[in-house]
């Protein structure tokens, strides 16, 4: 009970701390804007990026559709960026929603029970991290078949390792603490100890990791699509960067500029928010 109170208090204080930082608030707003675009995309409310709005490779102009110019087929680069935002954000959140529960569950079980369970989990993540991340994702994507969903499953099934190690280490520390021993003496079972006593005290790590996971997944999608194993159909920032390799030679800089600007804001915002969350939620750093 006392732990819950402490947590609520920590959460409140963290929120207050976050709201005091102007940059963090702005970055929150940026993330919300991107999320809204993704949501509009999911509801099919974004403009059709396949529609022709002008001539081939028109440079940026003041019309909304042409603010980032047009591509080879005369399609709006802005509309492609918006469609790409939907793709990137969807992947970011889908991957996180796969990786975080796996990381938390395996980390908690390994840290709490130790022994053979711990041995197995450590072996499992050691094997996974021994293969370079992108190679592993590409290999799994090939097995599952190309496409957005298989890419998300591939990234999610590898992305839990970092969080799992953190949670396991925290559980190893916490399971010997007085409040856990006290709860055990009072008759709490393993489920209660893991999920109601220890986990709430290490959950801030999961929140921080999740924010960075979204960022990592977005970057990975861009890289994988650039390499040709990511998004197959539809708009993606990765495919736009890939197209730009040839476009730049001919002086068509605006599609790449559009992607770079769009990516910059979301990556910067997620980084700032991730850092701010770490500072705000780390009990050692709380005032």
């Amino acid at each position: 009970m006392s732990t819950q109170v402490a947590n609520n208090s920590l959460g409140r204080r963290a929120l207050q701390k976050l709201l005091r930082q102007k940059l963090t608030v702005i970055c929150f707003v940026v993330i919300i804007i991107y999320l809204s675009i993704a949501l509009l995309g999911a509801l099919n409310l974004l403009p059709d990026f396949q529609a022709r709005v002008g001539e081939s490779y028109e440079p940026p102009s003041l019309s909304i559709a042409k603010i980032f110019g047009t591509d080879i087929f005369g399609r709006s680069v802005l509309f492609k960026l918006l469609a790409g935002t939907k793709t990137a954000i969807s992947i970011g959140f889908l991957v996180t929603s796969i990786a975080v529960p796996i990381g938390i569950t395996l980390g908690s079980l390994a840290g709490y029970y130790g022994g053979k369970i711990d041995g197995f989990v450590v072996w499992l993540f050691s094997v996974i991290v021994s293969v370079p991340y992108l190679l592993m994702v590409i290999a799994i994507s090939y097995v599952l078949g190309k496409g957005m969903l298989s890419m998300c499953i591939a990234m999610g099934s590898i992305g839990w390792v970092g969080l799992c190690r953190l949670i396991r280490a925290e559980f190893l520390k916490h399971k010997e603490r007085e409040y856990v021993l006290a709860a055990r003496l009072l008759g709490a079972n393993d489920y209660n100890l893991i999920f109601k006593q220890i986990l709430p005290n290490v959950l801030h790590l999961a929140i921080i990791t999740a924010s960075l996971q979204v960022l990592g997944a977005i970057k990975s999608e861009v890289i994988l699509t650039y390499l040709g194993v990511g998004v197959q159909d539809g708009s993606s920032w990765g495919s736009m960067i890939s197209d730009a390799t040839g476009e730049l030679v001919n002086g068509h800089w605006w599609p790449l500029a559009g992607v770079v600007i769009t990516m910059f804001f979301i990556i910067y915002a997620l980084n700032v928010v991730g850092d701010a969350l770490r500072d705000a939620l780390d009990p050692k750093l709380v005032d």
Binding site: I72, F73, G228, Q232, S239, T245, G246, V249, N250, G251
Partner: protein, 604 residues
């Protein structure tokens, strides 16, 4: 000494060492050569590049162009396609003259050129390369037909030489126990050390063409026996160059074979003399002392190196074409800035691009009107203009335009963009305005930017008549697996001539050639197959062209494939490169090229 001074001293020392290391001169190769007469001259180095790493330098095991380009310069074949003459015709390489044909038209008699020697190598007695003899030819043909060695290209001679198919089958049975000495081939006969004959199963005007393929290069048994598995990295040939430095993913260096037997062609096409291409007629080749071949996989770094003069010859890709060249009514030209520095060629490829329908697909295979609708909905001309900068010609027959038997001779016609007809055919197919038509998946062999853009163009085209396309971007191996297993609806495809004859293209739809053969559509038409067999062994001429026209009509009506376009290939070369004439059957004709070393030094 204070900590600050110590740090500064340490930093300065580190910087000096780094500076010293960075200023270390790069390994310098000798820049002059002395010939057998003791005359010293400037070394002629030709700088080219490899866009992909080769797979194998064992002639019989390779089937990729990166390997073939190297093999063609290290080994010799019996024939090659004449460097200057067009249309492409065979000319002897290891033979003293073209073979003679017996009266019955079944046996070719060959005489080897005298004085042809393998390059010096420890595999030979005393390390000295020995003279080429008939046994080497028979051994090499047998090795080519050995199914334990060559798993890729035997079809080039399949069914054409007496006893060779039986030999091929026997090697499959015997495996590692295969002993060529115990397996004679009736159609390969040694007459003496210089003479041999090849007997054909039937009269065949195309029978000699496979002997110009790099897969039937002539190898020495001693080298194969000595190097075994390493033979593909240790080539020993009679070719114009040998490998001086082997580096699959680095810089491969080829050096001149000082004892090479070849000479520059004495004859050429009309206009070759005027353009200086016959100035070296009859002279001993190669002229170049060394060829440096770094592996540069990306086009942009390669083009930057070319512009700096570090590469002597380069293909001109689509993006750089936009920047450096243009097309007008007179043809293709380099922009003024570049035309002062470089020369350009534009040569129509012996390549046919097409789209394949899987005739076993329940939707497309059974609906001829739907396939015709798609053919009408494609704007190939627009595609060439928009996506390929006009660097190609729409095809009206399955044969590329430079090959005899193409649209120039058959005077055939083909589908061109016609929205009304496309809609009419769609309605006939049971899908008026595309209503009720499911998505059609089209397979591509890569997922690069150009491929994606090609797909976008196609999707836009077909969407105008209500046909929805979905892409399947595959890796090359996944693409092949899908196509060969018949697990696809539609696929993009291209075919480059194995030899410059129309038969090589019409066989793509011959029924028995279904996957794993090249007929991936799995289309079979008895009338077409009969006409194909009738045309196969006929010499080029009105009779053969008339059969081609009939076959084309069947293809046009049935549409198992949509024939699209014939690409034109572009390249740039430095002004100091001499004897350059693009030969589409010889991608790396280094032995004929030369460098004006003085001009290169001056940069002109």
């Amino acid at each position: 000494m204070s900590a600050l001074k110590k740090t500064l001293l340490l930093s300065s020392l580190t910087a000096l060492i780094a500076l010293g290391l960075s200023c270390k001169p790069t390994p310098k190769t000798e820049d002059s050569v002395t010939d057998s007469k003791g005359i010293t001259s400037k070394k002629m180095v030709f700088n080219y590049l490899r866009g992909t790493a080769h797979k194998s330098l064992d002639p019989m095991k390779q089937f990729d162009s990166a390997s073939a380009d190297l093999v063609a310069n290290i080994y010799d074949r019996l024939f090659e396609y004449h460097y200057l003459k067009r249309p492409y015709e065979l000319s002897p390489v290891l033979l003293s003259e073209m073979p003679t044909l017996s009266e019955d038209g079944l046996t070719y008699n060959f005489t080897l050129k005298k004085g042809v020697r393998f390059i010096d190598d420890p595999c030979f007695k005393g390390g000295k390369g020995r003279e080429l003899v008939t046994d080497d030819i028979i051994y090499s043909i047998k090795r080519f037909a050995d199914s334990n060695v060559n798993m890729l290209s035997y079809m080039l001679v399949e069914g054409s030489i007496v006893g060779l198919d039986e030999f091929h089958a026997e090697t499959k049975k015997l495996g590692k126990e295969t002993n060529y000495a115990k397996l004679p081939v009736a159609g390969l006969k040694k007459i003496d050390d210089q003479k041999f004959s090849i007997t054909l199963t039937r009269k065949n005007p195309l029978a000699l063409l496979p002997f110009a393929a790099t897969q039937i290069s002539i190898v020495a048994k001693e080298a194969v026996d000595k190097y075994i598995e390493d033979f593909e990295r240790h080539p020993v040939g009679t070719g114009p160059f040998y490998i001086k430095e082997y580096s699959r993913r680095g810089v491969m260096v080829l050096a001149k074979n000082p004892n090479y037997h070849g000479t520059y062609p004495a004859e050429g096409d009309s206009g070759d003399k005027e353009s200086g291409l016959l100035a070296d007629a009859g002279k001993k080749i190669p002229f170049i002392d060394e060829i440096h071949l770094p592996l540069i996989e990306e086009p942009q770094p390669a083009m930057l190196k070319f512009q700096k003069g570090q590469i002597d010859w380069i293909g001109l890709d689509k993006d750089n074409f936009n920047k450096m060249a243009y097309k007008d009514e007179q043809g293709f030209h380099l922009n003024e800035t570049y035309s002062k520095k470089f020369d350009m060629y534009a040569e129509m490829g012996l390549v046919m691009e097409y789209l394949v329908f899987n005739m076993k697909d329940p939707l497309l295979g059974k609906n001829k009107a739907l396939r015709q609708a798609i053919a009408y909905a494609l704007d190939t001309k627009g595609y060439i203009e928009k996506m390929r900068n006009g660097r190609g010609e729409p095809l009206k027959s399955i044969t590329p335009i430079p090959i005899a038997g193409s649209q120039a001779q058959t005077e055939t016609d083909y589908y061109s963009y016609n929205k009304e007809m496309a809609l009419k055919k769609l309605a006939e197919a049971g899908y008026p305005n595309g209503e009720g038509l499911p998505e059609i998946v089209i397979e591509y062999r890569s997922a690069n930017s150009a491929t994606r853009q090609d797909f976008e163009f196609l999707r836009n085209q077909l969407s105008t008549v209500g046909i929805t396309l979905k892409p399947g971007f595959q890796t090359f191996s996944a693409f092949l697996t899908k196509i060969e297993s018949g697990n696809f609806q539609m696929a993009t495809a291209g075919w480059a001539a194995d030899y410059p004859d129309a038969e090589n293209f019409y066989q793509l739809l011959y029924g028995p050639n279904s996957s794993p053969g090249p007929n991936h559509s799995a289309w079979a038409n008895a009338e077409y197959d009969k006409l194909y067999k009738d045309s196969k062994y006929l010499p080029n001429g009105p009779e053969r062209y008339a059969i081609f026209a009939k076959m084309h009509k069947i293809l046009q009506d049935e549409v198992p494939v949509i024939i699209t376009w014939n690409p034109i290939y572009f390249g740039l070369f430095q002004k100091w490169v001499g004897n350059m004439k693009r030969n589409m059957m010889q991608d790396a004709p280094f032995k004929y090229l030369k460098i004006d070393t003085a001009g290169k030094k001056k940069g002109v």
